[in-house]
Symmetry: C2
Subunit: 237 residues, 2 copies
């Protein structure tokens, strides 16, 4: 899909209708919303209900039963990295015209998702998605050291610069910021320049608009997903 | 960098001069070599000695002190995904002309590195790079379940098809094969169609040429990295 297809639209993305509190502001459709906001491209959202992500309708758009997917005109793309890169290619809002800078943006987009996000995802797995908490805690220092080494390299490369590529905000900063803000505070605290980097880009109006938009359906649908409280169970019993 | 830059060359990639046996055939420069072989692009190799990967010369090309990086003309790209994608864009050897198929190739390239490789990398971390082996073994089933779920979705999407996109080998198959062959056999054994998929693409002459080329310096430099045996230590003592 090219810039013309994006301009014709309609652009539709998928997102959840609700997630548990800890995932609010961290579901990956946020990255597409942010890129679309930066690029000035209006979009619509197809909400996927919890439990329906592995149903046939969503699997047809997204083979792993995840969100997001993106449909432009009649064509569907999946994977956050692929969608954000295609959005970036539509204009110079996220991707400079200079060829060397475009190459650097591609490198950093993959670096965010591959080199940086892999150890962040491992830490999340250990902290939130493993049953044996004591074992996970015993493994954590090894993964934490790997993450710290990579964050240290990133901080060293960035120095005091506000941007990864050239003198302006690009898709490289969008993806790196989105990935870093999914790390836990404790993992970033040794790197104040990275904390400042994330805060600076999170303050962008396009990010705030994207974040607000992700949260709206969560508020609207919260009641439907509320578990019965003990009082309710008592009344049932 | 565009197709013309690749044709002008020279194309140079970085690779290690030696790695321990378990990493042979699995260092990521293999993915660039394979893509370059498929695209019919001759390349040269700058070998990085063990211990020098975090030295200033390599950090200038690769901010995380890894291999590979790729220099075309005077321009340097890093991250395997970025390098392979730019190689793919140079011709129709790895990327079809059809726009929808190109989009699908981009989605699957990111799917390989992000959705599939994340749990594979977690398994490798637990098996090979953690100090507390008992704790790692206790965490393994949770990660293994995540990996199996994703491999199951991949196998379901692929079915009996030999290729992920259209009727021919593309960069999507190159990246997915490269990622899957870094999983351990035990993790793939429930998915015979994926084992067959990997074997089919590993049989390609371009893959074999890439693999052979990666191994040559390891053989040549093995003696330099051989640890003193107990006999040698005895003689020293």
């Amino acid at each position: 899909m090219d810039a013309e297809a994006f301009r014709r639209g309609p652009i539709r993305i998928t997102a959840y209708d609700w997630v548990p509190r800890f995932a609010e502001g961290h579901v990956r459709d946020l990255r597409l919303r942010w890129a679309l906001e930066e690029a000035g491209l209006p979009y619509e959202v197809d909400l996927v209900a919890q439990g329906a992500q592995r149903g046939p309708a969503n699997l047809q758009r997204q083979p792993f039963g995840q969100v997001p997917a993106m449909t432009v005109g009649g064509q569907t793309l999946f994977e956050t990295g692929a969608c954000v890169w295609r959005i970036a290619e539509t204009s110079d809002a996220l991707l400079p015209a200079d060829e060397a800078e475009r190459d650097a943006c591609l490198s950093w987009t993959f670096a965010a998702l591959d080199t940086i996000e892999k150890p962040i995802a491992m830490m999340a797995m250990l902290r939130f998605f493993t049953k044996d908490k004591a074992a996970a805690a015993a493994v954590e220092p090894d993964v934490s050291a790997l993450l710290a080494e990579r964050l240290g390299r990133l901080a060293g490369t960035l120095g005091d610069a506000p941007f990864l590529v050239g003198e302006r905000f690009t898709v490289a900063d969008l993806m790196m910021t989105a990935v870093l803000r999914d790390a836990e505070e404790v993992d970033l605290q040794a790197f104040p320049s990275l904390i400042a980097y994330v805060a600076r880009h999170e303050a962008r109006p396009a990010f705030q608009a994207a974040l607000d938009a992700q949260l709206v359906p969560f508020r609207e649908n919260a009641a439907r997903y509320r578990r019965p409280r003990s009082g309710a169970i008592d009344r049932l019993g």
